[in-house]
């Protein structure tokens, strides 16, 4: 859309539209295009290609540096996975478990979703496929009790990575957000430094509500990173730029399918490039 063009108003409009259609959000998009205009004037840019390159570098800058997972050998690392309903938490946990197991670490899963129909069964099937133990209680059990038991069991068995699944929940439900805070507290009380990672899972098809999700979940639990799932669809996931403009919350992984191998380390350069495909 851009090659060999001169810089004019319609080009700025096209770039703004590209951002909006990618779910970057109207306000973040307007801000980006505004600062693009200033920079283009300052740098006396003359062609469309250099304008596009400048926008890419702005977007890249917004994402910050890739942040590795806080997983260290020789200790029990605890990862808690949170997010609203249906975004891909349980499946992401299976993918993470697969990845850490391949790296030679001992992994265990905790079925912290004690509410939804067949949630523990879903995680157990993944555990069987991955040959990874799953600690669960019955339906309706207290998720904090599951986490408590899982940490004890993980310590006893010399587990390196304990990944805690939690029930999907809307950030508008304060009792459920309090339940999440309690799960995190219990993990911290029972294991030094835990949870080492609290990952918020965001569905790439989500619009502006993802910004509210990141903000509100962050008020209840200490988020350490984002996982952006379902990037194998047609959604661009531009919502991460809107989130990045409000808080530092690095994207650590991208989900690209429903299988245990469908997880990629987040590559910010590749992500920015893909926005323009």
């Amino acid at each position: 859309l851009i090659t060999g063009r001169k810089i004019d108003e319609s080009l700025y409009e096209e770039l703004e539209e590209l951002l909006i259609i990618s779910d970057v959000g109207v306000h973040t998009s307007l801000d980006l295009v505004e600062s693009l205009r200033h920079a283009a004037k300052e740098q006396k840019l003359a062609d469309g290609d250099s304008l596009k390159a400048l926008l890419k570098s702005q977007l890249r800058e917004l994402l910050g540096e890739p942040a590795p997972m806080n997983i260290e050998p020789g200790r029990l690392n605890v990862i808690v996975v949170v997010g609203v309903n249906g975004v891909g938490k349980t499946t992401t946990i299976a993918k993470l478990a697969h990845q850490y197991k391949k790296q030679g670490l001992k992994v265990m899963l905790a079925a912290g979703d004690t509410f939804r129909a067949a949630a523990a069964e879903q995680l157990e099937i993944w555990g069987q496929r991955l040959a990874v133990p799953v600690l669960r209680h019955g339906e309706g059990a207290d998720p904090a009790a599951v986490v408590y038991d899982a940490v004890q069991s993980a310590k006893a068995r010399g587990i390196n990575v304990l990944i805690v699944d939690t029930a999907g929940r809307l950030h508008t439900k304060s009792n459920l957000m309090q339940e999440l805070a309690k799960i995190v507290r219990v993990a911290g009380r029972e294991c030094q430094g835990a949870p080492h990672e609290v990952l918020l899972v965001i569905d790439a098809t989500t619009g502006q509500n993802a910004v509210v999700q990141a903000e509100q979940f962050g008020k209840s639990v200490p988020l350490t990173g984002l996982v952006l799932t379902k990037m194998d669809g047609t959604a661009k996931g531009g919502i991460i730029f809107a989130i990045a403009s409000q808080q530092e919350l690095p994207v650590k992984f991208i989900g690209v399918g429903e299988g245990m191998d469908d997880l990629r380390d987040f590559d910010p350069d590749q992500f920015v490039e893909a926005l323009f495909d």
Partner: protein
């Protein structure tokens, strides 16, 4: 919300004298921003704003002593019209069973909605049968069995080794044998760009001939809603839409996008995780919500 923004805009514009068409365009920009913030698809926004411009430059707004309020009234009315034009009822078949098929992206809420529909129909005196046609997702069949138990509706399943087409067909035969008058088929979540899985839906449809193919859409979906709805409608053909997770605080602009691009009615609004959280869709409530 939008009302306050437009009132402020018009106060500023009117202080310079009589309103002009250019002033209305300035105000319409506020409407565009509000709709984009609410996740309405940008093309749908452009068409919507163009459509209301006619009324917006009429005497209704230009000669009103409260032009801001008038414009909001127009936006509201036009949006309600767009969201709810055609009747949103479930079409019951003249010869039972009525066959309902739920489709949509992964995680949209199909399985839960299947339970809610079964619950709603049973409470209205029907004899529904749920069919577990998701053979891919771990414990999907078990999930539907638990849901069916919770709403006291039988669930037909054949494990995960047979094709969903075969299972749907066998489910229909079971309904006929047992005198069940509504068949609700839960299908696996899939991407609209997955050719093979979209073909599977077409095969199920060809095999059992559903009276209602309902696209289940997560209310927090962003710009992509248009791609998904268009693809499902073009490849498969849908009869209606169910918006889920409306108990959250998402503005829900996807509802307007989906309705605008397919013309298919939004029949239900799902408003919670419990199996009684299903209501008939209210276009006026949705319009107020989108406009914030």
């Amino acid at each position: 919300g939008l009302t306050e923004k437009l009132q402020a805009t018009f106060r500023r514009l009117r202080s310079k004298g009589k309103l002009t068409e250019k002033d209305v365009n300035t105000a319409l920009r506020e409407v565009r921003l509000a709709l984009l913030e609410a996740d309405v698809n940008h093309r749908v926004v452009r068409d919507f704003v163009a459509a209301i411009k006619e009324r917006a430059i009429g005497a209704e707004v230009m000669e009103s002593i409260t032009p801001g309020q008038q414009m909001v009234k127009i936006v509201h009315e036009e949006m309600i019209e767009l969201l709810g034009g055609t009747a949103g009822r479930l079409q019951m078949a003249s010869k039972p069973p009525t066959i309902i098929m739920l489709v949509g992206l992964q995680g949209a809420g199909k399985t839960t909605t299947a339970g809610k529909l079964a619950n709603h129909l049973r409470k209205n005196g029907r004899r529904p049968l749920l069919v577990a046609a998701d053979v891919y997702r771990p414990a999907a069949i078990e999930q539907l069995h638990i849901v069916g138990e919770q709403v006291e509706v039988p669930v037909f399943s054949m494990g995960d080794k047979l094709s969903p087409v075969h299972i749907a067909k066998a489910g229909l035969e079971k309904a006929l044998r047992d005198g069940r008058d509504v068949l609700i088929i839960d299908t696996a979540g899939r991407l609209h760009i997955d050719t093979e899985l979209m073909q599977e839906l077409t095969s199920i449809k060809a095999e059992v001939g559903p009276h209602e193919v309902l696209l289940v859409v997560d209310a927090m979906t962003g710009q992509d809603a248009v791609n998904v709805a268009t693809a499902f409608d073009e490849h498969l053909g849908i009869d209606g839409v169910i918006m889920t997770k409306l108990d959250g605080d998402t503005r829900g602009g996807a509802a307007l996008s989906v309705k605008a691009v397919t013309g298919k009615p939004i029949k239900f609004a799902a408003t919670g995780e419990k199996l009684d959280a299903l209501e008939v869709f209210h276009p006026d409530r949705m319009a107020s919500r989108i406009l914030g």
